[in-house]
Amino acid sequence: MLNEIKLNMNEMPYPPPKGVIEAAQKGLSNLNRYTNPKELELLRELLADYSDVSKKHIILSAGSDFLLREIIHVFSRGRKVIMVNPSFFPTVQCTKEFATKLIKIQLRPSEFNLDADIITSETSEPSLMIVDNPNNPTGKILIDRGMAEAILENKDVLLVVDEAYYEFSGATFADMVEKHPNLSVVRTLDKAFGLAGARIGYLIAGKNFLDAFSTFVTFLPQSSLYAAIEAMRDPSYIKKNIELVIKERERVSKELEKIGFQVYPSTTNFLLIKTNMPDVARELKDRGILVFDISNQWLPGYIRASIGTSKENNIFLSNIREILKVHTQRGSKL
């Protein structure tokens, strides 16, 4: 196993509780069997309870990106797809491949606001709007309830909100699904629940989506299913981990600002950092620290760093300082 510090995939740095790991191990002992439909139903019930919606709205999947792909496959024909740029990269790639037409709205620093006038104008015709809220990689909440209500007024528009970081931001539209058949919310247990390796995603679907998913059959890996059920039976463990991540996020942000970087406010478990140091992501990688270099897909000079454990964050910060020192000696700027 490589001894790298992984701050490039927005994972939870703390493992799930012992009970969840034991449940996953129990699932492994059933590897010769397909998942039991009753256990799938149990997970749906637990997720519905957690999300405070009726069970009929819950659709399970092995990863939320799989749900997004399915939505794009089914709903992008004859509709244009509206997304923001930058956005969750796999979703963008899938949309580029399958959509009839893709409209991307470029987010601008330093506010990264989504202009309501553009949204009104673009959603005046049949369309599928997919927005990650909070946005990855800016960490910002892009649409509020008022804007969502305005979008959903046009029944020819389907709105899909990716709430992968809901547990960190606290902002959700799940409760609006009952009223709005053209709304769906995508969530995951990858992030706050610390189950990235289990790949459990779920859709809180409005009626228009439910109809399309009526023939959708889900099978989850046994170990993932057992781990997810155990996690959802007592989800209170995530509270402490989230608090730790948020506390560390604010500390790392302040430290980076002290060093002289521009760091943007985040409602997630990662930070968007502006730097003029060329190749800082590569230099960190050479030192065994992985961060995500966004320059390849967006504006130059931005990296995204997930929040790790306190120890990992300290190593990240001290390496940043060392790299900066080398750059300063070379005469380059922050």
Partner: protein
């Protein structure tokens, strides 16, 4: 660093030779009037910068200036300089040291700014005169130098100033690819205000654009040096990024070209701006393209090659339906006001915002935080501002903000 003189040639129409000698008494009076808390700032204007643009000459370095005059080129610097001066808010906190006549004095006189003249100017000025006058300004103790011009002027300023004092560069040339320039005359005024308020300084690039190569349809540039400027990133233009020639970029351009050609209306005149993405469009139709100039297509036929403003206006009169296709400059996002000066405010006004098609590869567009315009006419710049769609693929568009 190689040093050569190419920018800043032209005529000073005031006198044959104008000698302005400031006596010690006058200098003392100037100092008393300006007050010792005021910042002493030099201003030098290249009066012929930008003149080659509208007549399609892609520059005014060397003898080309005279050719531009013959073709009916009009001076663009006065408008830019006036716009710049009128938007400085800290006018009461600065005193200017200016070159005589159209190299500064003519414009400053009209504003309520304390100034004094320095240097002497022959009737026909050269880049050497620019450098000499800047040298005298430096000896006089200026703390900041403002210059109005293009890349050629920036090179002359670099030769004279190097990193001794900071500069503010007001864009007014045909070629304005160096990142030392402000995004517009108004932005340059804001930079002066920021300097007065007190801001950090940073170094920005001065590029050496080979004007003969440029005129010959090639963009050849190399780094000439660095000038120090007030560090207000949002007001500084980014330098031009070279066009990508990797396989995926070429494929993207071809994909855009096929999409555009497929949707071209045979009864519409298409004015195609400079750039390799536009060249991909003419390639797809099987026509040649002036890489750094403006060409026109109607019914899949070339009806204009390397057009200047006059010939564009003639075509616009002839054809009822018209569209303009442009691509932003990589790195800084300018769609009008840099590199394609033939698209003058008048041309843009006639074509209309709704008939402007913007194209560019996703790799180029996604790296821009906005598109920019600096046509020299603020009303037109405002008209172009707001959100606009850019075709980045056969079924893919990006909504970008246009700023001025």
């Amino acid at each position: 660093m190689k040093k050569k003189s190419t920018g800043g040639h032209g005529f000073n129409e005031n006198t044959d030779v104008k000698f302005i000698l400031i006596s010690k008494k006058e200098d003392r009076e100037f100092n008393l009037r300006r007050g010792y808390s005021m910042k002493k700032i030099g201003l030098i204007v290249n009066p012929i910068a930008g003149m080659g643009g509208s007549v399609g000459l892609k520059g005014t370095d060397g003898e080309i200036y005279k050719k531009a005059l013959k073709l009916g080129a009009k001076a663009v610097t006065p408008r830019k300089t006036k716009e710049f001066l009128s938007h400085i808010k800290s006018r009461k906190e600065i005193s200017l040291v200016v070159a005589p006549g159209k190299m500064g004095e003519t414009y400053v006189k009209k504003f309520n700014i304390i100034f004094k003249l320095i240097g002497q100017m022959p009737k026909e000025t050269s880049a050497e005169d620019t450098k000499r006058v800047i040298g005298e300004m430096l000896n006089d103790g200026i703390e900041l130098l403002i210059f109005v011009g293009g890349d050629g002027t920036a090179r002359d300023v670099y030769d004279a100033v190097d990193s001794r004092i900071p500069v503010v560069a007001v864009p007014s040339g045909v070629k304005i690819f160096s990142s030392v320039f402000a995004v517009s005359a108004r932005a340059a005024a804001e930079m002066v205000d920021a300097f007065i308020e007190g801001t950090d300084l940073t170094e920005e690039e001065v590029l050496d654009i080979d004007e003969d190569a440029f005129r010959d349809n090639r963009l050849a540039s190399k780094l000439y040096g660095y000038l120090t400027v007030p560090n207000v990133k949002k007001l500084l233009q980014a330098g031009k990024e070279a066009s990508s020639i990797d396989k995926s970029s070429v494929n993207s351009k071809n994909e855009i070209a096929r999409y555009i050609v497929k949707h071209m209306d045979k009864e519409t005149l298409y004015l195609l701006g400079p750039g390799t993405t536009l060249k991909a469009i003419t390639n797809d139709v099987g026509l040649p393209k002036t890489l750094l100039g403006v060409d026109a297509i109607y019914d899949n036929r070339l009806v204009g090659i390397d057009l200047n403003e006059k010939s564009i206006l003639k075509l616009l009169k002839k054809y009822k339906s018209k569209k303009m296709i442009v691509t932003p400059i990589g790195g800084n996002g300018f769609i009008f006001g840099r590199g394609s000066k033939q698209f003058t405010p008048e041309v843009i006004r006639i074509v209309g915002r709704e008939n402007i098609i913007i194209v560019g590869t996703y790799d180029k567009i996604s790296k821009l935080d906005c598109l920019r315009v600096d046509t020299g006419d603020y009303e037109i710049d405002k008209l172009l501002s707001g959100h606009i769609k850019v075709v980045v693929g056969k079924k893919e568009e990006m909504v970008m903000e246009v700023r001025c």
